[in-house]
């Protein structure tokens, strides 16, 4: 008979080893899936996980892409992870990301064509504000009416996507090219352009922001009472109230922080790599960041590593779209599997499997 036995303390080794194991298992399962679809499994896995970095053919294009794809993932995941620790489930970061981009781009387009040093900082503020405000909707509904934040934040993603489309087709459409949907290209507007800080590295202001966010989150979670309260509220809500933590305040802080960071990510994207407000602007960073947060064990340092890995799969996904004619969404299969394997493996962290003899006397 197999028995699950709860460990007295969670196993530290498994906590660290499981994400790596999950990646390996995902590659194996993914290979089997590609084989079943009639594609060469080794080539496909290579294309997704190795070629973006090491191939001579694509490397020069895709290496800078790595920072570009990873920065928003980390920025969003760091914020989400803090909420998840407190059992506050903001799964609508994609919407907050869109709103941040729209607010940031809105400021830029309003100033166009004036040039000034102050425009970009204003865009940063606006981007954070846009994400923050969008996240405040589920936060306030939760604290005032006890409405489920999971459903509200998620449903607001669909609303944000439609606002994005409306903006791209209406208010923010480039008046110089009325035949095409989409706004002016911010990359051609110097004061609003989030340009590479070092050429051909992919290093832009969003990467800097992600780095600051990681350090900030690390200090907060390990050394500050706020981080302690976040963990307390997540693990033992009644003990948190006993410790004087106000649940409503925590909901506002966690959702607000995650929203602002997602908004920043959106703003850095629209003013740099994305370039303009388009219908297809949102590519699922907000959802992938959820996986990044889990894979990184909700720990800021882990999130950096997980962010790079999933950033890699993003580029690999684009490559496989080009080379193997796979649909873009197929990368989500990998992401879903990765999360499955991680969750499944995690039970070893808290439980021990024991084989016992039949209990008969």
């Amino acid at each position: 008979m197999i028995r699950l036995e709860r460990r007295k303390e969670p196993s530290k080794i498994w906590r660290i080893a499981n994400p790596f194991l999950a990646v390996v298992l995902t590659m194996i399962a993914g290979g089997i899936m590609f084989a079943a679809l009639g594609k060469d499994p080794v080539a496909a896995i290579r294309l997704i996980f190795f070629d973006p970095l090491f191939s001579e053919q694509f490397g020069s294009y895709s290496r800078p892409q790595l920072l570009i794809k990873t920065a928003p993932l980390i920025l969003i995941a760091v914020g989400l992870a803090i909420g998840f620790k407190a059992n506050i489930w903001n799964i609508g970061a994609e919407g907050q990301y869109i709103m941040g981009a729209l607010f940031g781009a809105g400021v830029a387009l309003a100033f166009y064509p004036i040039e000034g040093w102050y425009i970009f900082p204003l865009m940063i503020l606006a981007g954070a504000l846009g994400g923050f405000m969008w996240a405040m909707i589920p936060a306030i509904l939760k604290t005032r009416f006890n409405t489920n934040e999971i459903l509200v934040s998620l449903l607001l993603v669909y609303v944000a996507e439609r606002i994005l489309a409306a903006m791209a087709l209406g208010l923010m459409r480039n008046p110089d090219q009325p035949g095409f949907p989409g706004s002016r290209d911010l990359r051609r507007y110097d004061s609003a352009h989030n340009a590479e800080l070092i050429a051909n590295t992919g290093l832009h202001w969003g990467v800097v922001a992600a780095l600051i966010a990681v350090i900030f989150a690390y200090v907060m979670m390990t050394r500050h009472m706020l981080g302690f309260h976040v963990q307390l509220a997540g693990q033992a809500p009644r003990a948190a109230r006993f410790g004087g933590v106000s649940p409503a305040r925590l909901v506002i802080i966690c959702l607000g922080l995650a929203g602002a960071l997602a908004g920043l990510a959106g703003m850095f994207e629209v003013s740099g790599p994305g370039g303009q407000v388009r219908i297809e602007f949102a590519t699922g960073y907000g959802f992938t960041a959820i996986i990044v947060a889990f894979l990184g064990r909700l720990n800021p340092i882990g999130i950096v590593l997980a962010g790079f890995l999933l950033g890699l799969t993003y580029i690999g996904g684009e490559l496989s779209q080009m080379m193997l004619q796979l649909p873009g969404a197929s990368i989500q299969v990998f992401q879903g599997m990765l999360l499955f394997f991680l969750l499944a493996l995690d039970f070893q962290t808290n439980y021990r499997i024991r084989l016992t003899q039949g209990a008969r006397a």
Partner: protein
């Protein structure tokens, strides 16, 4: 007058069709939640049903086989959820999300070659003279059989939960799993059955989308229907007939905004098409602000981990 161009009988008929997929998914999820489990992967199970139901129906030429396959596809994904949450004790929220992401991705891959194909037609149920009644015939009696079966399913679930012993055990497990365990009921087995039933219903709801309502396959075609079904369960305060009412209300909103789009109202399409989501949020707020009553109805052990200590 724009609204004058909308025929109320046609509107009612369209409303029932629009409501059916989310009603199917919601009634399944209602049973799951009554057993104390929150499966956030409804969207993923729905899209699996939509995709596999479509593929099977197109290849076999039989919509019936398509629906059966969709139910099975939903159940397979649900079984995965059950394995993870009930046996391996994983976090429900994360597992539900993984289910959704995985379902969306896998179906995009599987359905790649099926975009733009028309599925075999599901025949309308011939209700003879009933269909000829003026107004009512057009509104209520000219639908495919799934619409009626779904209503029957709501009735069956209502009866099951209220009057059958198995239903009572299911409610007991959802209300207090420790007590149910102490009395010797198999908490995990009951929940596994409920989760599988929920998966089958979500799969059927998805297939209804791809085979009948939209009659075609596109990537990510559920666009949040699974999440709306989850909200519907809260709106219904876990009561089957209220889920039906909620789904029809929601179907009404969808159909009305589609009609307004078609009638060329001077509001951009994008704003009209966000109305179902906004109304769902509004309804959630209204329901949850009546705190005490809704929470009394919520299953007591909903979303609490269960691990038999003995």
């Amino acid at each position: 007058m724009i609204l004058g161009s909308i025929n109320p009988a046609v509107l009612l008929a369209a409303l029932m069709v629009a409501a059916t997929p989310i009603l199917l998914a919601a009634i399944g999820e209602l049973v799951v939640e009554k057993s104390g489990v929150l499966n956030l992967g409804v969207e993923g199970m729905m899209i699996m049903g939509a995709c596999l139901g479509f593929i099977i129906a197109v290849n076999s030429g039989s919509p019936l086989l398509g629906f059966v396959g969709a139910a099975l596809a939903g159940m397979v994904l649900a079984a995965l959820f059950a394995l993870l949450t009930q046996v391996l004790m994983t976090n429900h929220v994360a597992t539900g999300l993984a289910l959704t992401l995985f379902g969306l991705g896998l179906t995009a891959l599987l359905g790649q070659q099926y975009v733009g194909i028309t599925p075999p037609r599901t025949p309308r149920l011939d209700l003879g003279p009933l269909a000829q009644i003026p107004f009512f015939g057009r509104a209520f009696f000219r639908h495919d059989i799934v619409v009626y079966l779904t209503i029957a399913l709501v009735g069956a679930v209502w009866w099951f939960l209220k009057y059958s012993r198995a239903g009572m055990i299911l409610r007991a497990v959802g209300e207090n799993h420790d007590a149910a365990h102490a009395l010797g009921y198999h908490v995990k087995r009951v929940r596994l059955m409920a989760i599988l039933f929920g998966g089958a219903c979500a799969g059927l709801g998805g297939a209804y989308l791809s085979l009948i309502r939209v009659a075609g396959w596109t990537e990510g075609m559920t666009v949040g229907a699974g999440w709306i079904a989850l909200a519907l369960v809260v709106f219904a305060s876990w009561r089957p007939w209220r889920a039906l009412a909620g789904a029809y209300l929601f179907g009404g909103v969808v159909v009305l905004q589609l009609n307004l789009q078609a009638a060329g109202v001077r509001i951009p399409v994008e704003y009209l098409s966000m109305s179902p989501y906004l109304i769902t949020i509004l309804v959630l707020v209204l329901i949850s602000s009546g705190k005490a009553r809704a929470s009394l109805n919520a299953p007591g052990s909903l979303n609490k981990p269960f691990h038999a200590s003995s």
